[in-house]
Assembly symmetry: C2
Homo-oligomer: 382 residues x 2
């Protein structure tokens, strides 16, 4: 072999060994991964069709069913971050012209609309102010007006901190012959979820929130009615990577090659799910709730208000109203620079109006609550 051209050395950087500050990640995500998850990530690899890897895949699928409380056979981790699992729900089930009704009460409702439109959906919307949720009557009225094939709701709005109740919504959707799609990115593993009892047909999540695994892999579940809609498509899924008629054969009985699974991220997700099985869902949900309440009490003592009404407040993500006259971004920068604590600025309509503070998974601990409240107190008093 002769090199017919000379090598350009311009971008041959000499960089130091990886090192990053020890941040406490209390924004809207990622949250800090559990140390056992970080350790699992570094395990040596096996092939993506190795018999022992297939055992791990089975375990991950079972444990995802546990945390979502579903019996859906098609319950898998998508080989990408949460937004890809979000897109997978729509890419597989929307056909051109299908009416898709999106409940928009935050940033991620807008994202669902954008995605649905790219798959040719006739996108409809119902709206609530950011931080509020839809009542069953409002949803019924929306279904009555728009007669959609899919109703998409955000169970845990990461941009607002509101938790959309889903009990009874599945029954409504059955009545109107429509599929129920739920964003559970900021609820899975931290906030009560009963997909099957609530009649949710499709849901997705991220790994980097209450599961305490780094981002890069994303849970997806499709129920029988969603799979039926997929099987009845008259055209191929217009997205190769997320085509569940093919991906499902790798995660299903066939174990047919589609793309190379992200092996080490699956190691990490398995460990994250194993930690949840050890702790127990009831205990984990109660822990998230208790630490959130501790935080809310502390905020009140500092004279800070929450943006969302108590009844609909997510334990995993709190939006804190920014007091008059406070430079919100200066506060987040000071928390990072002086305390190594990351919190989130407001997104979309809440930009400059609220901070977003996560107490997710491994990070949902009293000592983190105390540390953050103290850091807030120091920063706001300056």
């Amino acid at each position: 072999m002769t090199l017919n051209a000379s090598i350009n050395e311009t971008h041959r950087l000499q960089t130091p060994q990886l090192d990053v500050p020890p941040r406490l990640l209390m924004g809207p995500g990622p949250s800090n991964a559990h140390p056992r998850v970080l350790q699992a990530l570094g395990m040596r690899q096996v092939g993506h069709l190795d018999p022992c890897f297939i055992d791990l895949m089975n375990e991950v699928q079972a444990l995802l069913k546990y945390v979502w409380q579903t019996e859906n056979a098609t319950t898998i981790p998508v080989s990408a971050t949460g937004s890809a699992a979000m897109e997978a729900t729509l890419a597989n089930t929307v056909e051109s012209g299908d009416a898709v009704l999106v409940g928009v009460n935050g940033y991620f409702g807008h994202r669902l609309m954008d995605m649905a439109s790219r798959y040719g959906a006739d996108v409809r919307r119902i709206d609530k102010p950011w931080g509020q949720v839809f009542s069953l009557d409002e949803l019924r009225s929306g279904l009555e007006t728009h007669r959609p094939k899919i109703l998409a709701l955000v169970h845990a709005e990461t941009s607002t901190g509101a938790c959309q109740p889903l009990e009874g919504v599945g029954d409504l959707c059955c009545e109107y012959d429509c599929l129920l799609l739920a964003d559970t990115v900021t609820s899975l593993g931290g906030v009560p979820l009963f997909l099957d009892q609530w009649g949710v047909d499709m849901a997705y999540s991220g790994s980097q929130k209450c599961l305490s695994c780094p981002p890069g892999i994303s849970p997806l579940t499709l129920g029988a009615r969603a799979i039926e809609k997929l099987n009845q498509r008259s055209t191929k899924v217009p997205n190769w990577y997320l085509d569940m008629s093919m991906v499902g054969k790798y995660w299903g009985k066939e174990r047919t090659y589609h793309h190379t699974a992200p092996i080490n991220m699956i190691y990490g997700l398995r460990e994250a799910l194993r930690l949840i099985a050890e702790e127990g869902l009831a205990e984990r949900w109660a822990r998230h709730q208790a630490n959130a309440e501790l935080f809310w009490e502390g905020l009140a003592q500092l004279g800070l208000d929450c943006h969302v009404e108590r009844q609909y407040r997510l334990p995993s993500l709190t939006t804190v109203s920014i007091p008059e006259g406070v430079d919100s971004k200066a506060v987040t920068q000071k928390l990072l620079a002086n305390h190594n604590i990351e919190i989130g600025n407001g997104l979309g309509e809440l930009a400059g109006k609220a901070w977003r503070i996560g107490l997710m998974g491994f990070n949902s601990r009293p000592e983190n609550v105390y540390m953050l409240l103290d850091a807030f107190k120091q920063t706001l008093s300056k």
Copy 2:
């Protein structure tokens, strides 16, 4: 908070601590990650918009330019496995009705056709037998006949072990006003690549081949002519997750949130690229070539033939013709069971006709060549 329903414990598996056999991965990929890469994966996280993470992003982008030998500003890791980066090239640049000409001489040519068709391309093909490559004259004739907007070629066909020469192809494509798309999944970091000198407009790769990083993140580069085609689209990119008009703003100067980057996979990729910068591209390419030649000599001594003509043989992936009367799958199973060595079975037209053996990145070492040759000798003599 009250739980209005009881928790189903069916899928609450009690699983042991993660452990897997110490496999030597000498199939078509994944190859074993370098130990320093596995260590980097487990580094604590920072936020995906943290100032220190942005420094790491800049480093990864520069180092990708080095290994690809390109100055393309849009050179990034896609937050998914290699097939997603493959899809990203087509999703962004194909508009409905565009003629896309695919050189089909292996499995991944078929995949490119499938993907292009999902984006509404008028898919055309030129064919060569699996294991052979296209001459410049054959490519010119294809361009003359089909007048495509994009010519897609597989530089390193992982299904056949053939290396498609690309010198001169870029000039041809300019002459016919068409973009050149190259699959470099099994060549990046192991086989000479000079994207800019060859006039390649778009390329993608995987992390789990010659880069010696686990799968889950995938390099993508788009040159100025590809970006121009993207900018001139009359419709939105019909794939949200891979829409480079948005993803490019996270990796570009704006650093605007699109999706949460797979932080720890980026740590791993950075370390993998750092190892290449330390070794040097010329030295790395020469090492791959030398170890492949050592392997080919050993195969000849065992009386085994390579499927691909010497001149076009990839150093990173060798297809070994299966001798008459040998049960090919029984051999791969014995290598795994008795030697902890994974090699690949033939794919597509080469199923049952060839084994696929990778000597990629960290795994391209003489001791691995000797070990595999010895294991082959033991297994075939039984």
